[in-house]
């Protein structure tokens, strides 16, 4: 993420992806800018490959907040795919149609779309509080979206993980509802096709299966050679349990043998139980839409708090628990909740960085 100031306008350029892991940082930067009185914010997406619901969850509310404060949020140069996502989300109006403010033309970064000269004002006109996240068409898709978030989080958190998938038994058939890439999805399909593998064993027997070194593995003789061919060297499959019944598995694949230690097994178990909880909650007192929505929000907040915890640990040289207690006490003292206190910590950590950029 880079931030360039030009006159009254500030351009935040994003690179790579905005997903559940990067969205909180992006949100904090926008918050800091807003708090600093910036009301003309351009988010430049030219270098952005992908935006998921968590990214939209940042852009939507921020554009409303700016509009309420007499300001404007403009989205510049989205790729066709990102543009489509924005359109579906009802945020197409935020996309810049013409040149940015002429004041900024001299100092701004390279202008990506300069041939259309309609004025930029009005781009956020119809967004007065009406920006909504996309509605999902079917309930299974909502659960799957929530499970994909867990998959992404597991892959980012577990050290040796080169790929993560969640497979579920639906109507007596196994399907992969979330996979970090195509090779991993294929690994799952190979297990379904041969009727063998740690994923199926975990899902059938309800306890975890750990393949420390696939080259030395004698179980699942039909599946193992296929996995070796794809460069997989170790696998950890943890069952998903709903109402005391295994319904699928969380599978973690690595290209290195002996990649997973006791801590990774523990983390895998935690993510598997979160996935199980999603499935269990989905069947009880909330609609699946609500669960997915709530989970998305919860994961984002968690990340903000974890980031702030890390900042405090680094600044004060204290343990994770002490940093958390510190955060909770400062929240209580200032009448904020822990999430707000965490945002304040991140905002002040980013502040110096942003000030540095203003002066440059």
């Amino acid at each position: 993420m880079t931030t360039v100031y030009s006159g009254r306008q500030v351009v935040v350029a994003l690179h790579g992806e905005v997903d559940i892991l990067t969205a909180p940082t992006f949100a904090c930067v926008l918050d800091v800018l807003f708090d600093a009185g910036r009301r003309d914010v351009v988010v430049d997406l030219a270098e952005l490959d992908f935006v998921d619901a968590s990214g939209l969850g940042v852009l939507g509310p921020m554009s409303c907040r700016l509009a309420d404060g007499g300001g404007i949020l403009t989205i510049r140069s989205p790729s066709p795919m990102v543009r489509r996502i924005l359109d579906i989300a009802g945020m197409g109006d935020l996309i810049e149609r013409g040149r940015p403010d002429p004041n900024s033309a001299t100092l701004g970064p390279e202008q990506h779309s300069g041939d259309d000269s309609k004025p930029v004002t009005g781009a956020t006109k119809s967004t007065d509080g009406a920006v909504r996240l996309p509605a999902f068409p079917a309930s299974n898709e909502v659960i799957d979206a929530a499970l994909r978030l867990v998959t992404a989080l597991a892959r980012a958190t577990i050290g040796g993980a080169d790929g993560v998938s969640v497979s579920l038994s639906r109507h007596g058939q196994f399907i992969t509802v979330a996979a970090s890439d195509e090779t991993i999805a294929q690994m799952d399909r190979d297990q379904y096709a041969t009727g063998q593998g740690p994923c199926l064993s975990a899902a059938a027997e309800g306890h975890w299966f750990h393949v420390e070194s696939l080259a030395d593995e004698s179980r699942w003789p039909q599946f193992v050679p296929r996995a070796l061919e794809e460069g997989i060297a170790s696998i950890l499959s943890t069952p998903l349990i709903v109402s005391a019944r295994p319904v699928g598995a969380l599978n973690i694949y690595s290209n290195t043998d002996h990649a997973f230690g006791p801590l990774d097994q523990e983390l895998a178990a935690l993510f598997a139980s979160q996935a199980s909880s999603i499935l269990a909650e989905a069947r009880t007192d909330m609609t699946t839409d609500e669960v997915a929505q709530r989970l998305r929000q919860a994961l984002t907040t968690r990340q903000v708090i974890a980031n702030a915890q890390g900042v405090i640990m680094g600044q004060q040289g204290i343990s994770a628990d002490a940093a958390y207690a510190n955060l909770r006490q400062s929240a209580k003292r200032t009448g904020m909740n822990v999430h707000e206190a965490a945002k304040a910590v991140l905002a002040s950590a980013f502040h110096d960085d942003l000030i540095g950029q203003v002066r440059r």
Binding site: E281, R302, V338
Partner: protein
């Protein structure tokens, strides 16, 4: 119906959170226990770690604060941290 003995469960009933909403809030604050485990803490069927107990207490207290109240549920480290009372 008798009043629940567990402080956390009494507080949950008082602020009117469902078990699943309480779990979401606890999870949001960084908790790693499952929904079933959190429910078990409230029924004294499982003993939470101090950290987990404090996370549930925080979730409940934040709900009290939303309703205009104070932080009535004590934290395990309140004995050490009693400066603001």
């Amino acid at each position: 119906m008798t009043e629940p003995r567990n402080t956390l469960e009494r507080a949950r009933v008082e602020v009117g959170l469902t078990h699943s909403e309480l779990w979401f809030r606890y999870f949001e604050l960084g908790g790693m226990s499952t929904a079933l485990e959190v429910e078990a803490y409230l029924y004294d069927a499982l003993a939470p770690t101090n950290h987990d107990r404090d996370l549930v207490a925080t979730a409940l207290n934040e709900r009290f604060a939303e309703l205009g109240g104070d932080h009535p549920v004590a934290y395990t480290d309140d004995v050490l941290d009693d400066t603001d009372r």
